[in-house]
């Protein structure tokens, strides 16, 4: 009887240790996964995005979808002084020589694609009239990030994501009381194209991006994702 009790005790102990290993392993996996989400793919994509946005002309940034192209996939476009060889081109006066449009487009498979289109700018870096869904226009296309959450997908704590999905780009304005107002109209559009009634406040040069990235199994039962806030001031 005593032996049975001892053997039973030992079995319970071994089982307990095995369960602890299981739980520790799971917790370890979760920490590693969240670290991967933040610091691997996303970090590289953010370097591209930040660099392009900092070099862009603020008034040339256009957010998609927008009232002129409501069926466009989420994304942005901007005038860039980078040519197709990715060289920063300056004029003889040392100012940026706008030569391309850079697009970031979230495709239907959750891939964030960076592509360019050469353009003959007449003096000013105006916003692009190209449609992001026009794949024939794309030059130097590359995937900068995979598994960006799609519009309409549902995530814990955030509910169903809106029309921009996991690529939620907006311009920052402040009210006179210092409250932040986010809008998808750039400052140029606010002052020239829109009545300002609904956008009371002042423009800033700040742009905001909420990037929601998921692990590859995010459509399945257990969701893994991270939401990264990015703020950038275009320098031109």
């Amino acid at each position: 009887m005593v032996e049975l009790v001892i053997y039973f005790g030992l079995s319970v102990m071994v089982l307990g240790v095995l369960l602890s290993v299981l739980f520790t392993g799971r917790s370890n996996f979760e920490a590693t996964s969240s670290s991967y989400l933040v610091s691997q793919d996303a970090e590289a994509a953010l370097r591209w995005l930040k660099s392009d946005l900092q070099e862009a002309a603020l008034g040339s940034i256009r957010v998609y979808p927008n009232p002129q192209s409501p069926s466009s996939p989420p994304g942005i476009s901007m005038a860039s002084p980078r040519n197709l060889e990715n060289e920063f081109v300056v004029s003889k006066f040392g100012t940026p020589l706008w030569s391309t449009y850079v697009f970031y487009t979230l495709d239907s498979e959750g891939k964030l694609v960076r592509w360019m289109k050469e353009n003959d700018f007449q003096q000013y870096p105006e916003a692009s009239n190209l449609k992001p869904e026009d794949t024939t226009a794309r030059e130097r296309e590359r995937i900068v990030l995979r598994n960006v959450v799609q519009p309409g997908d549902e995530l814990a704590e955030f509910g169903i994501l809106g029309e921009r999905g996991g690529f939620d780009f907006q311009f920052v304005r402040y009210s006179d009381q210092g409250d932040e107002i986010l809008t998808s109209y750039n400052p140029y559009q606010v002052t020239t194209e829109l009545a300002d009634d609904n956008l009371e406040g002042r423009n800033t040069k700040l742009v905001s991006l909420l990037l929601t990235v998921a692990m590859s199994n995010y459509r399945e039962r257990n969701v893994s994702y991270v939401q990264l806030p990015i703020r950038v001031v275009p320098r031109h």
């Binding site: 920490a31 969240s34 670290s35 989400l37 409250d179 932040e180 257990n222 806030p229």
Partner: protein, 158 residues
């Protein structure tokens, strides 16, 4: 004290001493595995949190760059306040969280933000420059003191 004795071929099975020895070896091996797990988890979290802190610091510096010198501070700027006990229960803008879920479980990523300046930047002084210090602090697993990332810069009226 035989364990699972096999009477047909005369084997006595495992004795209690052997069982205890086996369990002891198993325990040592598990302990080593635990330590490896714990170290890996700590390093992963440290790596993740430092990357996130750098991201938030970059955001704060960009917000400063966007600010018009001599105008009121936006409400999204954090106060000039060091983290006290229980700072994790604070709210934005002093405390910013980065939402992360893994396999449906929430990962805690909380950062204390602090912004200090002399005052001209927000219109309280008459100098044409201000010295701004931005600080991000966060809790590191396995360490009692908070981790800190700090940037100090001179902002000039343009």
């Amino acid at each position: 004290m035989p364990f699972f004795p096999n009477k047909s071929n005369g084997n006595k099975g495992m004795s209690l001493v052997e069982i205890i020895l086996a369990v002891f070896i198993f325990a040592v091996a598990t302990l080593i595995l635990f330590r490896a797990f714990t170290a890996n988890k700590r390093l992963s979290v440290q790596n993740r949190d430092r990357t996130a802190a750098q991201l938030l610091m970059g955001n704060m510096l960009e917000e400063l760059r966007a600010h018009r010198f001599g105008t009121a501070a936006p409400k999204t700027w954090p106060p000039d306040q060091e983290p006290g006990n229980g700072w994790e229960s604070g709210t934005f803008p002093a405390v910013q969280s980065i939402p992360a879920f893994v396999e449906g479980n929430k990962q805690q990523m909380l950062f204390h933000r602090q912004l200090s300046y002399e005052g001209s930047l927000i219109g309280k002084g008459n100098k044409d420059h201000d010295v701004v210090t931005a600080t991000i602090r966060w809790k590191d697993p396995g360490r009692s003191e908070l981790q800190q990332l700090q940037a100090r810069m001179v902002v000039r009226r343009r």
